[in-house]
Subunit: 223 residues, 2 copies
DNA sequence: CAACCATTCAATAAAATTCTTGAATAGTTG
DNA sequence: CAACTATTCAAGAATTTTATTGAATGGTTG
């Protein structure tokens, strides 16, 4: 026979664990990570994560039931988005925890980064100084729509898949700092490698847009 | 055929989700919550959570594999403890997230708190002022060993199950502020009700010891 | 080093999660 | 309002997670 206190705890922990359980799946983690950038349609999320539409939808339902994402309609499409900043905060602290304690994660990241031999990353403070001094080209290599929804102040947009053909738009004399989504987004590594190989002075900022914005550093949006 | 980028992501998200998965179980959440107070033996944890020893051990293995807890031996016993502050931080942000978005949690807590009709809680700042002014009795109602391992500066220890028999040690003239482990610990509600019924001027501080300590507010330990 | 004790392991059954497939649904647009 | 289309649902098989039981382990103590 259970006491009232026991029942209370059972209820609370059962409910709280639902939130953690909703986050406790690789695909859903990736979805959260993506949605931190802004709203996306099911189809986009599916393509990005390499899942079938039906499966993606199912995972999105799980996240929706856990109140981690919400929907809004626009034309024929349904856009999914995080329900609040605290969702991103929780995901961040889980990511930090994982990256601090999980050697497999550390190894995977190190290994992947080593594949490119780009130098050290620019810190956020450093980049802020450079932006304010105006002596740097800040390059956003994410897909264009993500750039439009919000980017680092004065950044220019050249999505990675257009970089080769549009590389002439950049100057070889000025320092270039490239960024993408965040610490797990490797677009920036490819970009910096490409630029360096062709004689540009390129470095990376690997915190990404979201963390920049959360620091309260200057951002802008188009449209 | 998967690209290198896809494989990298699969690895990273799979590993990161293991951490979240380890947290995504009611029993394990309760264990983390308890271990935030300090190290405990398997037997204590089992008794506290109402599980069998074997089952508790199994859950502890899961947490250990996820690097969320570590063990240390003392005599015949094995003590489990959190591997670091960031484990508590992640658990806190999940709890905050759950409490913000999950109506069932909110309802359970409200309902349980309503059962007692104690007034509003004292805030941490308020309590700090009172402690420094010295015009308050701070009462720690947790089990005695938790008190010894760390408590609010100048607090006295009367575990809840001894409160009735030792109530005379307290003064009816001075204000009493009781606390226990944290926002999910309801010992404090019982204590304040008991005290109020018998004519003591009692209020509750429901952030608990851990959050007090994390703010850097003054603490002490015995032995 | 033998006895003891806390803890873990192993095996199993029950329950929950996951992915796939193909059909159903519900907005939107002409 | 009919046709279209993005998204969801439903069913089922495969896998994983969980609790229980009873036996095994391995460190400590006399």
């Amino acid at each position: 026979m259970k006491t009232a206190a026991r029942k209370f705890k059972d209820t609370v922990y059962a409910e709280l664990s639902k939130t953690a359980k909703a986050l406790g799946n690789p695909h859903r983690m990736e979805i959260i990570d993506l949605l931190a950038q802004g709203p996306f349609t099911v189809e986009t999320i599916a393509r990005y994560t390499g899942m079938t539409i039906a499966n993606t939808s199912q995972h999105l339902q799980v996240l929706k039931n856990a109140q981690l994402v919400a929907i809004s309609r626009k034309g024929n499409y349904i856009y999914y988005q995080l329900t609040g900043e605290n969702v991103y905060a929780a995901w961040t602290s889980l990511r930090e925890l994982g990256m601090a304690h999980n050697t497999a994660v550390k190894k995977a990241i190190d290994h992947y980064r080593k594949g490119y031999h780009n130098g050290d990353a620019v810190t956020a403070e450093e980049l802020l100084d450079k932006v304010q001094a105006g002596d740097v080209i800040v390059l956003d290599v994410r897909p264009e729509d993500e750039y439009h929804r919000g980017h680092i102040h004065r950044a220019i947009s050249i999505p990675l898949d257009q970089l080769q053909e549009r590389i002439r738009e950049l100057s070889k004399k000025q320092e270039i700092v490239a960024y993408c989504r965040g610490s797990l987004c490797m677009l920036v590594e490819e970009a910096v490698t490409l630029l360096t190989q062709q004689g540009y002075k390129a470095r990376k900022f690997d915190d990404g847009y979201k963390d920049w914005a959360l620091r309260g550093y200057p951002t802008a949006m188009t449209m």
